[in-house]
């Protein structure tokens, strides 16, 4: 309960946001999370009664694109709802104070709210002295402190997940999970992350006290479980063998498939075609450019050349089924990833995504995947984190999180 005695819906109502709008927002969240519609009520209850947990957003070797993405959070009231549901105490990009006044917000949380606050990390983390210092402290030092003492951590964007583009440079910046092993981290890949998913993860956490079902990369299945190609509005043109051959040609104007221009949709999973960007306005493929697979593991190395056609597939053509292409593509992608020493599991992920007959509900571990400690279909989170907010003001309101399986949002 808020000290003022008002619930979130009451406060929103005072500002002209009706209870109906609030409940409808909860419905959107349930859909994004691939939860049954009935969970709308549960989410509404949780957000209505929750005490504001503290959120500490730290930026390291970043471009602030992920911060900007959260500022563009979709649905008119979402940002307010999340901001007013959380005490957003540290965020270099937008917080009021600088210097010591700023750093005190972060160190206070670590000291006084151990295991009770949420950390969000943006950017890679270098290990060498001097490559990234804030307030005279190294990024590694701060990250271990802030992540190590958090109830849960969201690593937003490619750089915080696996080092992104930074890991290829001389500083060899790494992702959160490599710098703070064993931390309770959810990876929200993408360049940048899509804030629609991040907000949904926060809402899930506030509602159930734990993170949604995760895949072998600790990414939420609801967002990263399905092939872009299978969700793409241009898919019918692919099946019909109609392709864009040059920028601005007739096929491009008619919205044909971008496979021949280098589209990575057949090799990449993400819910980009469904949640889209900037309040559902568009996404790169709709606007006319091929997908670059930015939510995939180590995408800067595995998906480039971005204009290179996915590996020439034997027998590729209009009559090739998606299954065949998917498998062939996966083979090539896996080879590329193996070369970079990553990506054990995209193979199985992709195969699974093609299995439209998979039943709803808890899914079996994908064939050939790593032991089940890397795949979690129901709580708790993959890294074995305990339900957060032990003692004191738990955001958790009880209730089991549903087993979502990997099915896309309706």
């Amino acid at each position: 309960m808020f000290p003022s005695g008002q619930t979130l819906p009451e406060r929103l109502e005072e500002r002209g946001v009706s209870r109906r709008t609030f409940v409808s927002f909860c419905g959107v969240m349930a859909a994004t999370l691939a939860l049954p519609a009935a969970y709308r009520t549960k989410i509404a209850e949780a957000l209505s009664s929750v005490t504001r947990p503290v959120l500490i957003w730290r930026q390291f070797q970043d471009c602030a694109g992920n911060s900007e993405s959260i500022l563009r959070s979709p649905h008119p009231e979402v940002a307010e709802i999340v901001l007013e549901t959380l005490a957003w105490n540290y965020h270099e990009l937008i917080m009021a104070g600088s210097g010591e006044q700023a750093e005190a917000m972060s160190t206070q949380a670590v000291r006084d709210l151990k295991g009770k606050y949420i950390a969000v990390i943006e950017g890679a983390i270098p290990s060498g002295d001097g490559y990234c210092t804030i307030g005279g402290r190294s990024a590694v030092d701060i990250a271990r402190d802030v992540v190590g003492n958090a109830a849960a951590t969201l690593a937003v964007g490619a750089c915080a997940w696996d080092g992104g583009l930074v890991q290829h440079g001389p500083t060899e910046g790494q992702g959160v999970q490599d710098v703070v092993p064993g931390a309770n981290v959810v990876n929200l890949g993408g360049c940048p992350h899509n804030s629609a998913n991040t907000v949904a993860v926060l809402v899930h956490y506030l509602t159930f006290g734990q993170m949604p079902a995760l895949d072998q990369y600790n990414r939420p299945l609801f967002a990263y479980g399905d092939l872009i190609h299978d969700q793409c509005e241009r898919r019918a043109y692919y099946d019909a063998g109609l392709f864009v051959e040059a920028w601005g040609d007739e096929g491009h104007r008619k919205g044909y498939c971008l496979y021949k221009m280098g589209c990575k949709g057949p090799a990449a999973t993400y819910n980009c075609p469904n949640v889209r960007w900037n309040g559902g306005t568009s996404w790169p493929v709709e606007a006319g450019h091929n997908c670059i697979g930015c939510a995939s593991p180590e995408f800067w190395s595995t998906m480039s050349p971005f204009y290179g056609r996915l590996p020439n597939v034997e027998g590729f053509g209009a009559d090739t089924t998606a299954e065949t292409l998917g498998l062939a593509v996966v083979g090539a992608t896996t080879v590329a990833m193996a070369a970079h020493g990553v990506g054990k599991a995209i193979h199985s992920r992709t195969v699974r995504a093609h299995d439209s007959s998979a039943p709803a509900g808890p899914e079996p571990p994908p064939p050939g995947s790593a032991p089940t400690d890397t795949v979690t279909d129901s709580a708790p989170t993959a890294s074995g984190g305990e339900p957060p907010a032990t003692g004191g003001e738990p955001p958790a309101t009880g209730g089991e999180p549903p087993a979502t399986g990997g099915e896309p949002a309706p």
């Binding site: 471009c63 600088s98 006044q101 402290r137 930074v166 290829h168 910046g173 960007w277 900037n278 450019h289």
Partner: protein, 572 residues
Amino acid sequence: MTRIKIDPVTRIEGHLRIEAEVTGGKVSEAWASGTMFRGIEKIVEGRDAREAWIWAQRICGVCTTVHAIASVRAVEDAVGATPPPNAELVRNLIAGSQLVHDHVIHFYHLHALDWVDVVSALKANPAKASSLAQSISDYPLSSTAYFQGVLTRLKTLADSGQLSLFASGYWGHPAYQLTAEENLIAVAHYLDALEWQRDVIRIHAVLGGKNPHPQTFVVGGMATPLDPNSPQAINEERITFLRSLLKTMRTFVEQVYLPDVLLVASAYPEWTKIGGGTRNFLTYGGYGKGSVADTASYLFPRGIIRDLDLTRVLPMDQAKITEQVARSWYTYPQGNQAALHPYKGETDANYTGPKPPYQWLNTGDKYSWLKAPRYDGQVMEVGPLARALVAYAAGVPAVKQSVDATLKKLGVAPAALYSTLGRVAARALESEIVMSQLEGWLDELDRNMNAGDLRIADTAKWDPSSWPSSARGFGPHEVPRGSLGHWVEISDGTISRYQAVVPTTWNASPRDAQGQPGPYEQALVGTPVADPSRPLELLRTVHSFDPCLACAVHVLDAEDGGQRTTVSVDTG
């Protein structure tokens, strides 16, 4: 004498540290340090030059798009691809809307809290705030009930004891001078601007697929097909949608942003005399009607102002740009005193600063990850003020009228522009000027499309086999924070060298081999400091430049042949 530091400087992009000596209540000397380095060298080396823009765009996510545009221009310059007029119009729409969007966010979300006391707003009388707001603007959200709503929201936040992003502010600092009602108006518009920026950026979603990091640039043009009759292309429906977003954009700029800048500027007249700094200004110019090469059609002319002499605009020759590392954490093989043109720039990262955790930098030696760019050996300020001064001195009518009208409203002479508030005003004025062009660009695109001109890309140069075996090119772009340049060298279709010189490297540069301080360091000298433990006044001047440190210490540099493990952070 007191030594103070601000680290991190927040409400900017990236990681910036300021150290300063305060003598007699004023800054006597200052040092600016970029404290983060990514140095992603070699990763573009050997890659298809057509995708350089995708990598380069990640230099910055706040000034998203700007590096993509400079990069694609550099490659087009190298290979001889000529984007058709429609592609230039789409790029202008993306770049122009980015500039306006960025300036508004800067004013409200990055800069305003230096002038606006959020806690003081709690004491405001909503009815008084309403009548004041209505006296300065036609903005319809100005009723007593509206301000009462904002006040209630603010009170709830304060009563909760959790001020969230506002928790760490300098509330009650003696340097705050707005009335409670003025503060309430500003807080209300801070919140409105949050919604506005999210709403209007859908221009980039339509034309770029997403924001941040739009994804529709291609070497030779744009990947946005045009067809009035296709639901899958930029068509009448999308043009209409864009027009409505531009209208929303314009309304806020005219009815909220510009009046609020005047409101703040009027309350802080002494800040038209503080924060000038270097007296030299540089701009590449931009926003032309056709190709980048058509400099005569630029809305903002190219040029240099030396020693604040507004009677003469000197020509700008990019060959005179050099960078130094005497006080930066790099070494040059040519020696510490060398000054190298970006085409010859090399940078071996070599951190010699204190081992963290540390209290103070050794500012007598090397102290920043930024290099020191210089023009003809001189320190230069870039950005909206540089563009405004060059355009004003060149007699560009739109700029001259706009600047003169504003100076008259504030009752100050043109010299007042050379100040902390001058930068704030220049940003607002150019937002208005660019805003006035955006709808025209969209109309022109619409006319072309309906006249049957659907060309959006020069595809003759798409295949790298059509390129010369070796080529190099320069891509300039005037971006919100100033003059951005990318230089690329291409061998057999792939990148053999890449360089970028970025606005914040100019402005936040450390000292050079001659000991000349950079623009921030010069501008801070003389700044009053009422309370050294809460150096609010320094933030005013630093923020007036709109720092972007990720840009400044960026990133991309491919060295020829892969022999050297050099990193160029260059420039930028």
